[in-house]
């Protein structure tokens, strides 16, 4: 078990290193290949009126003229030891872990990300609770009553759910529930849970439900398919034959087998969402990591884009690790080696 965890941890670190290299390469090498010069990179950080000389000096100071490998090394060093950026108009501090410094917002990226993370975590975890409960319950009930009115209705709604973009359902629910009926928050507001849990939930309830509906729909479909397959297995017949009550057969034998693939997908989905629920956050104007990513991209702020990409990759890798460990708990057939 311990060896397995260590092996997986090393694997996760290698994965993160590869993701960071690829990301770095794409944002610093691809523009070069397309004809951008070091001055073009530096020009983003100064006003439009800056002279060529100022831009050239800045490019020198920030190291855009160095070979890419040196720039990447400096970026990694910043994460471990922090960094300082000499802009010519003063030295900007970026303490460790320094995931870059945005010269557009004049903030270390890490600081910004920490600021936005609570919003995204609130959104993702609240929605996750709803979609797992609703999706798995619907899927199990549908599978057990296959062909019934409930099954048909639920699967119809689920199919519609996976076919609707979250930004469409989001706008429609905003128009109906917030602007029309006035029973939910109009979006754009966030209260930390530590400040006022009731306000927190009031502001979040509509984004939660909108986001959860989309995922619940696909989880219901997956759970139903998995349940149908598992309930046909021999060990279910064995469990019934030895006289176990049907409830135990379904909950302890059937569901446990059907849940394994769901756990995998949940890990990936949840990890990705923690790295920014881009669409939901922009639809409801929530200032989370996803909105930050969009703003960074529209402003073409490379340090910020790198930071967000790495954060998301980190969450996905960690979520996958947790999922693999959970496997051993959920599925008795899995042995960790």
């Amino acid at each position: 078990m311990v060896t397995y965890i260590i092996k997986r941890l090393i694997g996760a670190l290698i994965m993160l290193a590869v993701v960071s290299m690829v990301t770095f390469a794409i944002f610093f090498v691809v523009p070069r290949a397309a004809g951008a010069t070091a001055d073009d990179f530096a020009a983003r950080y100064v006003g439009k009126s800056a002279t060529e000389e100022t831009v050239g000096n800045l490019a020198d100071r920030l190291g855009f003229n160095d070979p890419v490998i040196v720039q990447y090394g400096r970026w990694v060093k910043g994460i471990v030891a922090g960094a300082e950026y000499d802009t010519g108009a003063g030295v900007e501090q970026c303490p460790a872990p320094c995931f870059g410094y945005s010269f557009i917002s004049h903030q270390p990226v890490w600081h910004d990300l920490l600021d936005r993370l609570p919003v995204t975590v609130s959104l993702a975890s609240g929605a996750a609770v709803i979609w797992v409960l609703a999706g798995v319950a619907t899927g199990v009930l549908s599978a057990l009553r296959k062909g019934s009115v409930f099954d048909r209705a639920a699967m119809g709604v689920a199919l519609a759910g996976v076919s609707l973009p979250v930004f469409f359902t989001g706008i429609v629910s905003l128009v109906v529930f917030s602007y029309g009926l006035g029973i939910t928050a109009p979006g754009g507001s966030y209260t930390p849970i530590t400040e006022n849990p009731v306000d927190w939930a009031y502001n979040m309830i509509l984004p939660w439900i909108t986001l959860a509906f989309l995922y619940a729909a696909s989880y219901a479909r997956l759970t139903r398919a998995g349940m149908l397959e598992t309930m046909g297995e021999d060990y279910i017949r064995t469990a019934r034959a030895k006289g176990l009550p049907e409830r135990t057969v379904i909950a302890k034998h059937g569901l446990r087998g059907a849940l394994t693939p769901i756990v995998t997908i949940f890990g990936l989905d949840f990890g990705l969402l923690l790295g920014g629920a881009v669409l939901t956050e922009s639809t409801f104007s929530l200032n989370g990591v996803g909105k930050y990513a969009i703003t960074a991209i529209l402003k073409n702020d490379l340090p910020q884009i790198m930071g967000v990409t790495m954060l998301t990759a980190f969450f996905v890798v960690v979520a996958n690790l947790v999922v693999d460990l959970l496997y051993a708990v959920v599925d008795p057939r899995v042995r960790l080696t």
Binding site: T23, A160, L164, F167, I171, V278, I297
Partner: protein, 334 residues
């Protein structure tokens, strides 16, 4: 010695489809290919056929968009200020829906919503189809190579797939489009064509690991089958076995996942346009129209039509894809 080897293995390829269904109970002695059996099953599935009909209609709408708009609408970028109430900037009478403007007009400048939705189908389907094609080609080649050769090739390709799956796809493609689009001036193609190619590349390039994994798994089990052994003992080499023996057996999963990837890509393109990095205005895209509609939530028809267009397209492909899976895969239960 190559001449006597080729004909026998060619007949193996020819006969295999009939060997399977030959064992299934049937009243007629006439043999049916797997394709014919699947087609019979598919024809019986009314829901899937409904989806297929809608899909065909959508494709026709996209192809004949200029003709349709010529008959029933106005050019998609023509302003109709006379339809707009200057005081509120919204269409006169709420939506402007009527015989002249089937879906009403946009707020502010009164462009014909019907024409824009119809033209939106072109962008949406074009990008979704070609992005899917790109993913399927990369995914199939990678999956088949990884599954067949195994060893370090498999390890390498599987790790690459893991890295791709760990990337925040949406953020990453958004950023990549932003970076690449900056250098528009130094590239040969420009404007909408460049953007369309860029979107096809980004969407297609990042989606291949999903199909790649499935193909790899299928290849792993196929390469242990007797007919592959037979071909090998007849002297067939790697490429021949891969493309003449294994690939024909992968047609079913490839078709199924391609059909199910198209709606995902329609949603993806809509999301990118919604976020403002898709095809830029004034070209009509469903996602772009929805993002405009957010500002005019008092005019519900403005969000309704592009939203429903996305919904119907995605739903139709999903229904057809589900039906296709049931028809081609006898194991799947329903």
């Amino acid at each position: 010695m190559t001449a006597p080897i080729d004909p026998p293995s060619a007949t193996v390829v020819e006969e295999r489809p009939q060997a399977g269904p030959g064992g299934t109970p049937g009243t007629s002695i006439q043999g049916r290919s797997l394709g014919q059996i699947a087609w019979m099953r598919l024809k019986r599935d009314k829901v899937a056929m409904g989806g297929a009909i809608v899909v065909i209609l959508l494709i026709l709408i996209a192809i004949f968009a200029p003709v349709l708009v010529g008959w029933f609408g106005h050019p998609p970028n023509e302003f109709h200020q006379e339809m707009i109430d200057p005081a509120t900037q919204t269409p006169k009478g709420g939506s402007g829906i009527g015989w002249d403007f089937l879906f009403g007009v946009e707020p502010l400048n009164g462009r014909d919503l019907f024409s824009r939705v119809v033209y939106g189908a072109r962008i949406s389907l074009l990008i979704a189809f070609f992005a899917t094609l790109l993913s399927v080609v990369i995914g199939t080649v990678m999956g088949i190579v990884a599954g067949y050769f195994g060893g370090w090739v498999d390890t390498l390709i599987s790790r690459v797939m893991d890295v791709f799956l760990a990337f925040p796809l949406l953020v990453f493609s958004l950023a990549l489009i932003g970076v690449l689009a900056q250098f528009e001036t130094s590239l040969a193609v420009k404007g909408d064509t460049l953007r369309i190619l860029l979107l096809i590349f980004v969407i297609g390039f990042f989606n291949w690991p999903y199909i790649g994994r499935i193909i790899r798994g299928q290849t792993l089990s196929l390469r242990e089958r007797e007919f592959v052994d037979a071909a090998r003992s007849l002297g067939a080499r790697g490429p021949y076995i891969l493309f003449r023996e294994i690939l024909p057996n992968l047609i079913a999963p490839i078709l199924i996942y391609a059909t199910l990837l198209i709606p995902t890509n329609v949603l993806f393109e809509a999301a990118l346009s919604f976020l403002g990095v898709g095809i830029p205005a004034p070209t009509a895209t469903w996602g772009g129209m929805l993002s405009d509609a957010v500002k005019y939530y008092t005019v519900p028809h403005f969000m309704f039509f592009p939203g429903m267009a996305i919904f119907i397209t995605v739903l139709a492909f999903n229904l057809f894809g589900d039906g296709l899976r049931d028809a081609l895969d006898p194991k799947s239960s329903r």
